[in-house]
Symmetry: C2
Subunit: 346 residues, 2 copies
Amino acid sequence: MSESAPRPTLEAVAARAGVSRATVSRVVNGSDGVREPLAERVRRAVDELGYVPNQAARSLVTRRHDAVAVIVAEPETRVFADPFFARQLRGISKELTAHDNQLVLLLTEDRDDHARVARYLAGGHVDGALVFSLHVDDPLPGLIQRAGLPTVFGGRPHWNGGEDGVRYVDTDNRGGARDAVRHLLGLGRRRIAHITGALDQTSAVDRLDGFRDVMADPDPALVEEGDFTAASGERAMRALLARRPDLDAVFAGNDLMAAGALRALREHGRRVPDDVAVVGFDDMLPIAEQTEPPLTTVRQDIEEMGRLMARLLLRDLDRGTAPAESDGTGPSGVVLPVTLVRRDSA
Amino acid sequence: MSESAPRPTLEAVAARAGVSRATVSRVVNGSDGVREPLAERVRRAVDELGYVPNQAARSLVTRRHDAVAVIVAEPETRVFADPFFARQLRGISKELTAHDNQLVLLLTEDRDDHARVARYLAGGHVDGALVFSLHVDDPLPGLIQRAGLPTVFGGRPHWNGGEDGVRYVDTDNRGGARDAVRHLLGLGRRRIAHITGALDQTSAVDRLDGFRDVMADPDPALVEEGDFTAASGERAMRALLARRPDLDAVFAGNDLMAAGALRALREHGRRVPDDVAVVGFDDMLPIAEQTEPPLTTVRQDIEEMGRLMARLLLRDLDRGTAPAESDGTGPSGVVLPVTLVRRDSA
DNA sequence: TTGAAAGCGCTAACAA
DNA sequence: TTGTTAGCGCTTTCAA
């Protein structure tokens, strides 16, 4: 640091206003019980000195940090391929800053990262955590639980149905999948295939379940597993075409895979939607609108999901409620609605 | 918080190991000067108690936070439309965590946000700042300067050429643009148009300059301003076609605009690359590879850019150097190389 | 309503 | 090499 003037302390403000530190603290923190003429004097001193409270000192005594960790566990794949992530972050950021909380971002990739994250959470830097993109074998939830931090998950956790007070926000994946398939049926399609997402994520499983809800007893040859990437969609589509060249529709687990499927279909000379109708999921604009033809897809409000996660967490924090005690104090799982957006692919 | 056991303090560890607090502190912080048998005893006590230092207490005395603010100033547009942002963040995150620093993310949109950010930076929560996506009229740099925080900018700041010790990392936008246009010339194209990015950002200006470097004295009718979005690319392409129906190539300021241009060209029945060759910029995979045809484009290593920004900042922090004093202590502007990636569009 | 004073958990002189 | 001690800047009883 350079020789810039040292930041003014409470002490300095108190001296200038001719009051005690305690009084300044009260004014700064908005607790009433300071009479008007005095309070005004303090406020002026604060302005004149450009006083900003030292957060470290404050945290030391309050044990609050007004900061929330956002943990994104996604090795390479999806997060960085589509704008999903940025959207969610923005929703979270808006809600947090509206409540004067900071967003500490923790990106994890390797196993090594987990130790680091665990240490960080245990270090008491943040008041709570928001967690994304869990896979079935992820050790993260355990680590977080041990740190005893209030937590809200993005997406239904796989280890339970949300009945034990674990907080999460999810999209209506199953309902959206049903809508998509029903739409295809309404178009007169009967041999409808499904390209699933990575089945170690609940979103992919739920979408598959929705597909099965409507298709009753689908030919197993009409289901192919992907992993949410465009490449996997392309590969899956080829496999499906090889097995069931007579298929007349595809419901892809997300838009990226739908885009891949479109390529495979084009390569095989199938016209979309004439020969094969295609529906995606997510409605990621830069993808869904740019494909040829533009995608009919299931829209979810990603930003709202982020906002809601933050809101739920902040509510718990205000209550001073630890995760284990939160039963009955509010919904533990919130599911956001989706809507089918019709474009040209189906 | 629930009645979870209070976290052990230095004091507790000291008691258990039968030493003083100072000794424990030394061991924990890895300063030598503690003899082996003792050090080992301390380490065991730390493990047994699961001791993790209280960061607030530490910061209070060290005035270090081991945290860096990442400020992204982008109202709506680009950041959330392409995966640029996520990539850069990942690069930053990797470098920061490798040096045990935390990433505090500040997303700004409105003017209101600036006050908040200023307050936050002044509050002394972070040791430095990384700043992105500045536009010419942005008040942010001033606010940051006033907070006296070491800062590294992503992209060349518009207010100077980098001669006064302002640290930044940029892509070789001008050189990349030259490569793109030369490539088109090499293909025998002569009536080459350019769709610019938002000209209140230096990256867009530099790319335009590169275009002009090679085209010498281009027909003004061959240049149209966009804003880095796909929609603007589409619109710009239409305008160009209307003015110069004889054009035989387009260099778009980024891939998203190139994708938009492709749509406009298709709509007008122009074949790519036969009738019109198209080159983009960025090489954002999910876009550049998915277009029809796949894009020839200028690749920049976004993740490396993020990593480098973090590295530069950390170096300044280690030196305890404030931005104003940093002249001559290292490069103030670093420019990363680009490479032309050939696909099918040119 | 205001002030005095104790202490949050840690580091860093300084002494031993 | 190890321990003692004085704060870092703030909030929060408790007394006045």
